[in-house]
Structure formats: structure tokens, C-alpha cells
Symmetry: C3
Subunit: 145 residues, 3 copies
């Protein structure tokens, strides 16, 4: 791995971190799960010890979620550590704003639920023939506002 490769890997993995949350907020779970390796494992920050194994199982779990919320996961503080030319690790903070799907309209948008969650994700990335993918993702909630 050359010193020019490292920042390119950092940038590619940071993009995956953001896409994860953007696809989640769009309820585009196929696109979201295309970010995982086939053998990926994933645990939600609200249930951090319960890892799902395999992209298909992760997809099934996302699809089984009740579709009754509007969400925005605001991602910040992304740091990617390149391990070697085909492995990297990453961390970020996430702030979750939510509202029920039938939330009362506000002057602009809808009224958000009173509480936000501030948490962290940590990820392992692997280079596949389709680019950098999430091989493992976990997380935990730090604060409820």
C-alpha cells in the first residue's frame, strides 16, 4: 500500500459510512445491505450485543422493522484507520432525530420527537471485487436528550 492509497481508502470507507445512514433514512434497505459483505455481521446501537450474521439476515431484519417512523441519522466525526490494502476500521458519531410517520406538521417539516439519541458506530471494512464493504458494524447509544 502506497501513501497515496491510504487517503483514497479513507475516503472510500467514509463514503460507505454516510451511505449507510442515508439509505437507512430513505428506507432503501436493498441499497443499505449492498454496503455489506456477504458474510457481514451487524448489531444495532440500541441492541449492541445481538449481532446478526450474513447480509441476507441483516436485510431480512431491516425489512421486518415497523415502517412507522421518519428518521435522520446525522453522521459526524468519521475516522477511518487503514489496516492494509484490503482492510480498514472506522468510527463515527451519529445523532438520531425521529418522528412518527403521522407526526404533526410544523411550520417547516414535521415536529420531531422530543428526544434525540447520540451514539457511536464502529466498523470493519474489507475490499471486495465490488469495492470497500462493511464486514462488521456495531455501535452503542451514549446519550438520550
Amino acid at each position: 500500500m502506497t501513501e497515496t492509497e491510504r487517503p483514497l481508502i479513507e475516503q472510500a470507507c467514509a463514503r460507505v459510512v454516510i451511505q449507510f445512514s442515508n439509505f437507512n433514512d430513505k428506507r432503501d434497505y436493498e441499497a443499505l445491505c449492498s454496503l455489506f459483505t456477504e458474510d457481514a455481521s451487524f448489531a444495532r446501537p440500541t441492541d449492541p450485543d445481538n449481532y446478526l450474521n450474513g447480509r441476507d439476515n441483516i436485510l431480512a431484519a431491516f425489512r421486518a422493522r415497523p415502517n412507522d417512523r421518519i428518521t435522520r441519522h446525522l453522521i459526524s466525526n468519521i475516522v477511518i484507520d487503514v489496516v492494509d490494502g484490503s482492510h480498514a476500521k472506522g468510527t463515527c458519531y451519529a445523532t438520531l432525530f425521529m418522528a412518527p410517520a403521522d407526526a404533526e406538521p410544523a411550520m417547516f417539516g414535521v415536529k420531531a420527537s422530543a428526544s434525540q439519541l447520540i451514539g457511536e458506530f464502529d466498523m470493519d471494512f474489507r475490499l471486495t471485487r465490488d469495492g470497500w464493504k462493511i464486514a462488521r458494524q456495531g455501535g452503542r447509544i451514549i446519550f438520550t436528550t
Copy 2:
């Protein structure tokens, strides 16, 4: 376009996205409008169907805004999709904190208005002789807290 160009374009456009909000918060509307192409169109997230056309008209509209607020637009989740060597698209989330210009002092800074707005921007970028510029920017508010 080579595979080294793509991340450079992503980075250049992401910088423009952030500068837009930073210049806005500084009330530096000339600098803000220098981020647009001459023929750019722009709609505010709070008035998403009302596009202004032309950099000069956009500048006039920004200058006409009442100068009575302190703002910080916190930008996150930037994703830039490169279309070709001279076109790109982008999205981001924005969280707007505000206070009236005569807000009451807090122990640190001033007391922010009770409500924040969480919204989205979407942009088209074009490469000009002066670098990457915003050719179109729209947006909408998702949540009021």
C-alpha cells in the same frame, strides 16, 4: 475521467457544500454567491418550489434578507456522485441553530432559539474555469424540533 480524479472531484464539491453554509452564517453573501455558476438556480429549503435563477438574482435575494439573526448551519452526511469529468451531484443534511441578533446572553455565547430545523440540500455541480461551482441547489426541511 480516471479513478484518481473521482475522489478529487468528490472532495472539491464537498468543500463547496460546507463553504456555502459557512459563508451564509458569516453573512458573506458575495463569497457565498461566488460558489454558484453564473446561470445557477437556487431555492431555499423553507421555500423549496420557488427557484431563483441567475447568480445576480440569488445574490440580491440573500442581500434582501433581514439581517436580524445569528445562525449556524451544521452540515453532515455529504455524498457527492460524480457524473462525469465536469458534472457532479450531491446531497447533505443540515441542522440550523438560530437566535435573534439581540438574543439574551447565556453563560457561553447567546441563548439559541428553542427550535432547530433539520433539513436536506441537493445540488448539481459543474466544473468551470474557476473550479467546481453549484449549478443548482434545492432543499427541504424534514423536522422542526
Copy 3:
């Protein structure tokens, strides 16, 4: 400095900006202070006119802080301006969520303190034999929520 160097410097310095806050939130003050040049100066956003001089003094000040809070500094809007091949400047926004170390548990994580602080950092960077380091960092609080 070539046009390929500029984005690499921007990326390297942006990473330092984020690491500063991540190490701070982990109370890893040795790692935090390894981000500074030996002759660095630093002022806290809550005490912006009181610059500490020298990495050792900065480390001592961080170590002397009461260790009674959980914090997350959410960093956004990072813009790095490269001055030359060994100097750069940067700005970012920071949103600080806090709770006392003995905060009451919430359904997820702990209950955050009611008020957040939204502020800004500004930094000078210098290239050293150990990479890009913070030579000066200041800041100020804009809003208390």
C-alpha cells in the same frame, strides 16, 4: 506544492480536527496532545482569551480537568485552507453534548444535560517530521441551547 498535494493536506488536517475531539471525549489526553506541535498554543472555546503555551502545559491543563463528565463533541463544517506545503489553517463547528459521570440512565445510554453548546474552533497546522500537527487552536461558543 502540486495540485495533488493540496487535497491530501486538507484530508490530513481534517483528520486531526476530528481526532482532537474524539480523543478528548475518550479522556485520552496523551493522544490528544500528540496532535499538537511541541510549541503549540491552545485556548478553550469557553475561555477564548486564555492561551496555554507549549504541549506540556496543554497536557497538564487537560489532566487537571475534573474527570466528572461524559462528553461528545460533534464536529462539522471542517474547511482546511492550505497556505503552503508545510502550513495550513482550518475552521469547524462543534456541538457539545454533556452529562455528569453519574447521570441517570435513560432507556438508551444516559440522559444528556438539558443544554448543549454550539461553537467554533479555528486552527493553524504545521507539517512536522511526524506529520501534520496543530500549532495553534482557539475557539468560541456561539449558542447555548
